[in-house]
Amino acid sequence: MGFDTVIQVLDSTLRLSTPLLLACLAGLFSERSGIFDIGLEAKMLVAAFFSAAVAYTTGSVWIGLLAGIAASLVFAGIHGLASITFRGNQLISGVALNFLASGMTVLIAQSWFKQGGRTPSLIGGARFEPIDLPFAGSVAGVPIVGPIYSDLLSGHSVLVYVALLAVPATWWLLFRTRFGLRLRAVGENPAAVDTAGVSVVGLRYAAVGIAGVLCGIAGAYLATGLQAGFVKEMTAGRGYIALAALIFAKWRPWHALGACWLFGLLQALALRTDVVEAIFPFRMPVQLLDSMPYILTVVILAGFVGKAIPPRAGGQPYVKER
């Protein structure tokens, strides 16, 4: 297996890990504020559809991106309404939204485009085009570093870089700002935040809103960057893998990046059976590769490799005690 192949696989890893990373950070904000979110999948799916549909209709991928974010925010709003305002079961709300998104996208796609629940293929300005980093062309010839810079790091859509920048941004927001302190506090003990004179509801809606924006970008990337249009169920369980990555990362931003790269690598390998055959001395079933993120997460959850302790107030609606 040559160096070129490694670069190709890693390049594919970077692209496949982007939606995972954005969704994972979305989950991080939500769950750090004490709101469990198993509806990441739903938000990505509606965002994928609306970004593709609007990008196709307007011809502008940027308007598409905004539409995707808006759709994702609507779903985040419903989740907030159910789990913050009406103090419902956050898990059930997530399950409900996943179904709603799954059915709704196909229903609207069918009545809008009449192409069997998909959008037409996106071309030109309706898609995110790869952008070349400065000097990508001129350093390509340099051994080792050249290909890494110009083939692996350069030549991705802008959203890939947005996702990467979101990691330090999340870390900074969470651990270096007032908002971050309050957000972490509300996920640990909302009563402490409430009695300190800060609105629990406001903080949690803010967190759920940020999750909505990030999922919106993730979905838009799927439909307008990674692929050229929306197809039914195109998220294909990525929301759950992101959730798994979040647990794997123990709700920490930099670790989330590592977990998403690992799971992205697994996805990239599943697409390259030739590489898999070259790596493993035995016949590695592709199904095992597919389910590896889930198996790893179960192992982590089981606490055999360090314990994953979620935010203490996670999953419980905040009710002032009687």
Partner: protein, 366 residues
Amino acid sequence: MDVMPKWADVILVPVISLLLAMAISALVILLIGEDPVAALKMMVQGALGSSYGWGYTLYYATNFIFTGLAVAVAYHASMFNIGGEGQATLGGLGVAIVCLAVPWPHWALALPAAMIGGALFGAAWAAIPAWLQARRGSHIVITTIMFNFIGAALLNYVLVNVMRPEGSMDPATANFPPATHLPTLHELLAPIGINFSKSAPANVSFLIALVACVAVWLLLWRTRFGFEIRAFGRSESGAVYAGISPFKIIMGAMLISGALAGLMAINNVMGEAERLVMNSVEGAGFIGIAVALMGRSHPLGVLIAAILFGFLYQGGAELALWTSIPRDLIVVIQGLVILFTGALDNMVRMPIERVFLALRRRRTEG
């Protein structure tokens, strides 16, 4: 203090939630340019207007009864089992192995064996998340979700690499031998002079599902183990005080839950497809969540909700056949029902509670 009378809690709240879900569904139909009233008429006609329609409605309902009961039993132990899909998938594997491995002389012998196979495999798939919850404290919701995906991958592997007949390109098992074919409602009802549709898939499994409802009711409200499940589900610290072992309850309730989900396979795999195919569960495991929520985790409620969802499924299929409304409408309705009866329960409940509170005040003052 109870603010509402029991009937309001058990009937009024779910019915209003359901009506809200229906109203929004009607709005969705209207938005995609179709007539909701005509759509409803077509659904009723298609699902309930003929014994053919009923045959499908009851076939779907049978699946949902099993998965709904599965969710309900776990819910009474305060376990949210989202893994019905995976457990039913594995149940299918158990049923397929039983049907293919033994040359059964008659379905009446094959059925109990298949039930054991399906239940065992379903229970086994629930056992690992249950053990992890009971011993390691791993959140059962996340682990059962993960096991759905792992189960799907496992079945994929088995169908492609192990159980696929030689020469077949189709990732599915061989057809089950004819002796294992279950009698349909047509065959069961013919001797008593009822002419039920021949081509509908509803079969003897429906009767077993009804028996399962009664059995679950007896388990939960008449046996000591059921008493302990309900006590544990309401208060874990109380259970420890009463000498109830949390480990025993978590394992027991989840194994029963998984077994019920696995039992579904006698309907869809053995009764209908008569072979095991990829994605044979078709989301029934998830619909079990909606069914259990609407049925307030009571077997009678589960039965009613399962038939309602059976109606929605068959009606939705008819709609997709005759109009341009895709079958995915059912998924939307299903999502809305879970949203309103589950997550937004308080939104419906709080105004009703206020009404009852005002009524009570007036009564005591007047």
